[in-house]
């Protein structure tokens, strides 16, 4: 963490993650399609999700099963009977001006309570406790022409209204923004492996964070739409609160909005006093019984989760634990790795190339791993080119970088840019002669000290933009140094 050791600041971070259950065909309480992405606004609606008078919700049982899978994966204990509650508040995105949600007070029971997620932060194990997991309906999507503050009007798209949403609330167990980031990464990988949420989770996973410093008031940060921004928002908030405290100020309990464009948190200044949602049991839905048999049926159909997959990677592919952790931090990467291993049995090398170059380049472009276009076939083709001596490792790094940035397959990059390795001794010999002429001093040094040979090799490399085969070049230069021993230097 760039700021300070946060233990000294007594930072406590808790997260409230909202995950859309996008793998479901229909919404939580009606039969409208839940797959609204890319659909024209207000085309996936019906009287129920538009909140027409007289309509009644009917629970999507499949949504409960998907939610149960998440609860099981997060070691959370599923309530034998759960209830839906109404959360009452007026807002334009709520068709009924109340949200059907769950509640853990007033005799209510959410889908599950307790649980934990274990993950690794820079090689250290960390465990964050889960407080509860609940099912609720997503409100409509609002769009503002321009910015939220300056827009002359708001557009409401009810396609999203009623999509099944899972709220996962953690205990305030995280102490650094880094930990929050890795928690989310692990959670995301679990969700991806469960197959309950679409692979490209853009917008299907939203996060609110709460943070307190040195036992101060709890500040909530809302509207954080990406993982990276969770880290940034928390870093910003720690900095802001720290400065406030340093100047003798006091943090006050408030809700702040993450302004993605300006990368700062801003106080919402909502006139709203302490929000009172007037929760009460939803009279149109009956309590949902979740008998043990249902839980075990769902449990028996659970797919392999990241932790198990990690262990399997270690034993099946013989890669180190650290590598296995990184590779299973995203389903897409883990799948990619396994596909590669099927095509070419050199897991260690594949793992190295994925971890060092593929992921780094993806991160640098600000892309999400789910957006990468390179296929396992293309990637293996490149690794094979290295192993067959067609390109050097150094060239391969360049090729991969180019490939990720442009989306062109590595082989095409190699061909387009003439990057095939030069192993022809005659070609290298001619280049070596040029180098010998240009750097006579270095040639003399090299005769005395073999370590100086590297400089000459490097110069040949430079002339070929790295394409010269380092072994061949080395051999050619050494033999030239032997040949030229008798020839007196011109200087």
């Amino acid at each position: 963490m760039p700021i300070e050791r946060s233990e000294e600041l007594g930072v406590k971070i808790g997260l409230e993650v909202h995950v859309q259950l996008t793998a479901l065909k229909t919404k939580l309480f009606c039969s409208c399609s839940a797959n609204y992405r890319g659909m024209p606004p207000n085309t996936l609606t019906c009287p129920i999700c538009l909140g027409h008078p007289g309509t009644l919700p009917v629970l999507n049982r499949k949504a409960v099963e998907h939610a149960m899978m998440v609860a099981l994966a997060l070691n959370s204990s599923i309530s034998p009977q759960m209830f839906f509650f109404r959360k009452n508040y007026f807002y334009v995105d709520l068709p009924k001006n109340f949200q059907i949600s769950q509640y853990d007070k007033a005799g209510g029971a959410p889908l599950s309570t307790g649980g934990w997620v274990e993950f690794s932060v820079n090689g250290e194990r960390k465990k964050v406790r889960i407080r509860r997991i609940q099912l609720e309906e997503d409100p409509a999507r609002l769009t503002y022409p321009g910015t939220i503050t300056s827009a002359p009007y708001t557009l409401v798209d009810f396609n999203r209204a009623g999509v099944a949403l899972l709220e996962i609330v953690t205990e305030p167990d995280m102490e650094t923004p880094e930990e929050a980031y890795f928690f989310l990464q692990k959670l995301r990988s679990i969700l991806e492996h469960l197959g309950v949420s679409s692979e490209n989770m853009q917008g299907s996973m939203r996060c609110d964070a709460n943070i307190s410093i040195m036992g101060g008031a709890r500040v909530e940060i809302k509207n954080i739409s990406s993982f990276r921004d969770v880290r940034r928002a928390l870093q910003y908030e720690i900095m802001r609160q720290k400065q406030l405290l340093r100047r003798g100020g006091v943090t006050k309990q408030e809700t702040r909005h993450w302004d993605e464009d300006r990368q700062i948190t801003v106080s919402l200044r909502v006139k709203e006093t302490e929000s009172d949602y007037r929760y009460f049991p939803e009279p149109d839905l009956v309590p949902v019984k979740i008998p043990e048999e249902w839980v075990s049926k769902v449990a028996s159909q659970m797919p392999e989760l990241p932790d198990a997959r990690k262990e399997r990677f270690i034993s099946d592919y013989g890669i180190p634990e650290y590598d296995a952790i990184v590779l299973t931090s995203s389903k897409k990467i883990a799948d990619f790795f396994e596909e590669c291993c099927k095509l070419y049995s050199n897991p260690k090398k594949i793992a190295n190339w994925i971890m060092s170059d593929l992921l780094r380049n993806i991160n640098e472009t600000g892309m999400d791993v789910t957006e990468m276009s390179i296929t396992a076939e293309q990637f293996i083709e490149m690794i094979k080119m290295i192993d067959e001596g067609l390109i050097s490792g150094k060239i391969a790094k360049r090729v991969l970088r180019e490939s990720i940035r442009t989306g062109r397959p590595p082989r095409i990059v190699v061909e387009d840019e003439g990057l095939l390795k030069i192993s022809d001794e005659n070609v290298i010999s001619k280049l070596a002669d040029e180098v010998f002429r240009e750097f006579p001093k270095a040639v003399e040094d090299a005769r005395r000290d073999r370590k100086a040979v590297n400089f000459l090799v490097g110069q040949v490399m430079k002339k070929t933009r790295g394409r010269a085969d380092p072994d061949v070049t080395n051999k050619v230069i050494l033999s030239k140094l032997e040949e030229n021993r008798a020839i007196p230097s011109r200087s």
Binding site: P47, P53, G54, L56, E274, R278, P283, D284, L285
Partner: protein
């Protein structure tokens, strides 16, 4: 012959036998509507052309020998809080004065599937909040027995339309007596089914956990026929009971020998009009004469039912009615402000006094710090009351009581006094709190004004209450008396 004066069971036979046509029946009904509607104001909207078209379709089917349903060609008036696809559904409110639902309630679909013909939508207290039909945005419905008096409510339009022969059958909804009260005041039959027997899908919610749609008719057999058409499980209503279709007319035979009738003494306490008491007690002795065994019983906590009922109903209402903000449908106030101001203006102008009063009280009761004190406590009392009914109905087949403690009152007489208004529900709301079925059947007249007898049954005991009500009706024939309009 005035076909509109006949009952459903009479007309269905005639229509099927082709002695009359459905079209003639519908014509007669609309002729009557034209005749008396200006005096009664039972309807908010009517669908004459559509109804005639549907009637002709039924007639064609009959002529072709095709099978037609239980209610073939029978005009049915539907309370205006029950959604009818493509047809105005106002809930008696300015808020929905332009609302045309994109779907039909399950009961409407069932009636249409049974060959029933929806002729119009009936007047009601705004959002079913009232027992006089005076809070309707469309003006009060008048009691056909005395046009200066209220027809009861909130299904006052449906009851008055039956009494004045403007329809053959009608649907009402009963949250705290809204079917039984106007049935009693207008001298017709109205049944509040067991909670969960009839689908609520398409009923604009006032208080979800209390209300049911129910049949209203000119006699008990008709009431049973309409119940048969609308009852049964509906997957669109999660609170609907998993019960298969049943013919409720099958149990009606007039024989109530050895039926055990309980008379809960609390229903005959202070506040009950002596004249009503006399009528109801004479009804009890008639039942005894018919072979029933009557005995006194008790329903404790009756003094708490009104506050308990209103706390639950208002709390649920405050949430149910939140959706009326003018954004997606219904009335929108002219207002240039932000969403918050538009919502406020819409709700200030769109809702009437009584609705606002109940929303405010309900919002208060659910607020942090008051929830336990009011809402939760009301739920506990509700459980106690339910147990009282279970206890009493373990000993007796049915319970009898007055439907309303008073006679139909003058329009404008009580409307300014909400507490007095609420107290009139004392005999009807306990039934909704318990969730049991109850029927109101005409039991005589006092000074030309009707009195209703309430017959209350155990859970899904519709058969028994219909049976008792029918035996009583066949002996007394109060159903045959008609007012001069």
């Amino acid at each position: 012959m005035h076909l509109n004066r006949l009952t459903c069971h009479e007309l269905v036979e005639m229509i099927k036998a082709q002695t009359v046509t459905a079209e003639e029946v519908v014509e007669h009904v609309f002729r009557r509507i034209d005749e008396v509607e200006s005096k009664i104001n039972a309807f908010i909207s009517t669908f004459k052309e559509d109804a005639l078209e549907k009637a002709r379709e039924i007639d064609r089917k009959i002529r072709r020998g095709e099978s037609v349903g239980l209610l073939a060609g029978i005009p049915v008036a539907v309370k205006d809080n029950i959604c009818t696809r493509g047809k105005l559904t106002t809930c008696g409110s300015k808020m929905l004065s332009n609302y045309i639902p994109p779907y039909s309630a399950t009961v409407v679909e069932k009636i249409e599937a049974a060959g029933g013909i929806i002729i119009g939508k009936t007047n009601m207290d705004e959002f079913a909040m009232g027992n006089s039909t005076e809070t309707s945005f469309f003006g009060c419905t008048r009691n056909p027995w005395d046009l200066t008096r209220v027809p009861g409510g909130s299904s006052g339009g449906s009851a008055a339309a039956l009494t004045s022969d403007e329809t053959v059958l009608a649907l009402g909804s009963d949250t705290g007596g809204s079917i039984r009260c106007p049935a009693s005041f207008c001298s017709v039959v109205g049944l509040k089914p067991t909670y969960g027997l009839v689908s609520r899908y398409g009923l604009v919610a006032y208080a979800n956990s209390l209300e049911q749609i129910g049949p209203m008719a000119k006699d008990v057999l008709d009431c049973a026929m309409l119940l048969t058409a609308i009852a049964g499980h509906d997957p669109r209503d999660s609170t609907s009971a998993p019960r298969s279709p049943y013919d409720y007319t099958s149990a009606i035979n007039g024989d109530i020998k050895n039926v055990k009738v309980g008379v809960p003494r609390e229903f005959f306490a202070a506040g009950l009009d002596e004249r009503v008491e006399k009528s109801v007690l004479s009804a009890v002795s008639i039942l005894e004469d018919l072979g029933a065994t009557c005995g006194e019983t008790s329903i404790s906590y009756l003094e708490y039912v009104v506050p308990t009922y209103y706390l639950i109903a208002m709390s649920e209402a405050s949430s149910n009615l939140a959706r009326f903000d003018g954004l997606r449908y219904g009335f929108t106030a002219k207002c240039d402000g932000d969403w918050n101001e538009v919502f406020s203006a819409t709700r200030s102008e769109g809702f009437g006094e009584e609705v606002k009063r109940r929303i405010l009280l309900g919002t208060f009761a659910l607020s942090a710090g008051y929830y336990d004190k009011y809402y939760l406590k009301a739920l506990k009392v509700r459980t106690l009351i339910k147990r009282e009914f279970e206890k009493a109905l373990a000993k007796f087949d049915v319970l009898v009581a007055p439907t309303m403690p008073i006679l139909p009152f003058k329009i404008g007489e009580i409307i300014e006094d909400p507490l007095t208004m609420y107290m009139m529900d004392i005999d009807t709301v306990p039934v909704n709190l318990a969730g049991v079925p109850s029927i109101s059947v005409p039991c005589g007249f006092v000074d030309g004004l009707p009195v209703g007898l309430q017959v209350i049954g155990g859970f899904f005991g519709e058969e028994k209450i219909l049976k008792v009500a029918y035996a009583f009706q066949e002996h007394t024939k109060f159903n045959l008396k008609k007012p001069e309009i």
